[in-house]
Amino acid sequence: MSAISTPSANRRSDALTRATQIIGRILLYGILVFMSLWFIAPLFWMFMSSFMPLEQVGVFPVEWIPRVWQPENYTDALKFWKFGTTFRNTMIITIFSLFGDIGSCTLVAYGFARFRFPYRDTLFLILLATLMLPFAVRLIPVYAAYDAIGWIDTFYPLIVPNFFGNAFYIFICRQFFLGIPQDLLDAAKIDGASEFRIFTQVMIPLAKPAIVVIAILSFQNSWNDFLGPLIYLKDPDLHTLAIGLYKFTSLPGQGGIYNQQMAASVLMVMPVLIVFFLFQKQFIQGANLSGMKG
């Protein structure tokens, strides 16, 4: 604080400012606590109700602690929900997409960041512009094309496009590459390294922080994706967690089994939350990078 004490400042106004400061602080933390509860309460209730007996879930006023802890909600939910199959399918899609995203986006970002070529800036502007293209416009022709080449009911529509770069990840990665000092590259060039060797052996190791951010965003994207699997995967054996969970809750006769639905939701949410808590910093960084100057 660079408070400039004027001669007229007296003790009374000092006490007053201190009082307003304390009230301000109390208000601040009060709002923060309230907002946290607002954000977290639904998720906390999801977790708690997943252990409740069914008759407790619909009780009013709302109860937060299970009267009896019923872990069998989980095993019961698994009986109706092909968790194993959907989990495996989701993993396959997520992992392949992850590699596709990392490979293509680092490559393209490096191209935009480190080489001069005609129309580079125009092309980069096009890249940014594709971020604004609504998915609804692309949906139907892409679906029709996949249908024509027999890719409906395969994982390809959910994996292959990731090998052609994602505009947002490319943007993030390019920002990062631009920040790497040119000297490092010049040194490698003088040593006679080829462009691809410089890329794989100098740039990729240096870009690890950006790659982690892309990996997390890509993971989250595939894991949470709903619309893609909904239209491309009709065979129940190919369903992903997101679709499986949706189908589970809308099964005829299953509509009322809230505690099991919550158990199933917890199962789907857990991996994402674990990854989030492990890589919190990178999650925040990912969001930050999108707001970064470039």
Binding site: L32, S36, W38, F39, I40, P42, L43, M46, S49, V57, F60, V62, L107, G111, F112, R114, F115, R116, F117, P118, L123, L127, L128, L133, P134, F135, A136, V137, R138, L139, I140, P141, V142, A144, A145, F163, G165, F171, F199, Q220, W223, F226, I231, L241, A242, L245, Y246, Y258, S265, M268, V269, V272, Q280, I284, A287, N288, G291, M292, K293, G294
Partner: protein, 320 residues
Amino acid sequence: MATAFGSQFSALRGRKRERWSDLSPIRKREAKFGFLFIAPWFIGVLLFALFPFVASFVLSFTKYNIVAPPKWVGFEHYQHIFTDDPLFLKSLRNTAVYVGGSVAIRILLGFALALLLNTKVRFLGLWRTLFYVPSVVPIVALSIVWLYVLNARAGLLNWFLGFFGISRIRWFADPDFAMLAFLVMSTTWVGVTMVIFLAGLQGIPEEYYDAAKIDGANMAQRLWRVTIPLMTPTIYLNVLINIIGAFQVFTQVFIMTGGAPRDATRTYVLHLFDHAFQYLPPQMGYSSALAWILFMIIFAFTAVIVASSQRWVFYQGAED
């Protein structure tokens, strides 16, 4: 990214175009490698952006059900949409409510929370994490949980509102409240917007505030005269991202209401989706026409915001 747009535009304007033939052999080699590296994206843009973009425009003038080849019908779909599809207007109105409401919520609440967290608050990381968590939870799971949060008889929200003497609201049975329910739900998704704002706020040099204080500016004046002008690029970015996203709201509506009650929550993309993937036979052509109208609307909004940005977005040291 907002700045990226600005600087890319000015770079394009300022630079004289390089011709391939003008390049020295070394520069030609460099350019070849550049093209090689960006090739995956370039192919991808042609396949997954340009092709569908053009194709959906063409399809919007046809009757197309996937099984049989498209049949040309001219402007029939557009005419039908504007004159004979009451759900078009209804879904557009519902979507407009969602866009207006959720963008305002994201920007105002996101900015407010970021301001609070930027006051040298204790446990910054903890608060930020708590506010961010709902944004990483899969939307399917959130939708299922929120169905019970918004349950009229025993839901958390009605329980909470009860403390303020508000009697039970039948969120999804009452057409007047159904869209509002989705807006309430969207208040917990301000995490990403908040984090972007917070990063922007942390980037404002302390000296600016010190100088303002010396000039006798009070807190409101510092907010209005220092913080907000310096944050305009970030506000611009967040408004743009959130508007484009909000226009396409789909998943939670599809899962939670499917458009009920009485189409009060039928959003634009849900309407479009139903025509393409729910109705039999699929009306892909009609759906494409709907998609193109949506594109034009989003494009118009984006264009207005981008064009107006020169008046209200201030770049610090904009020179590259």
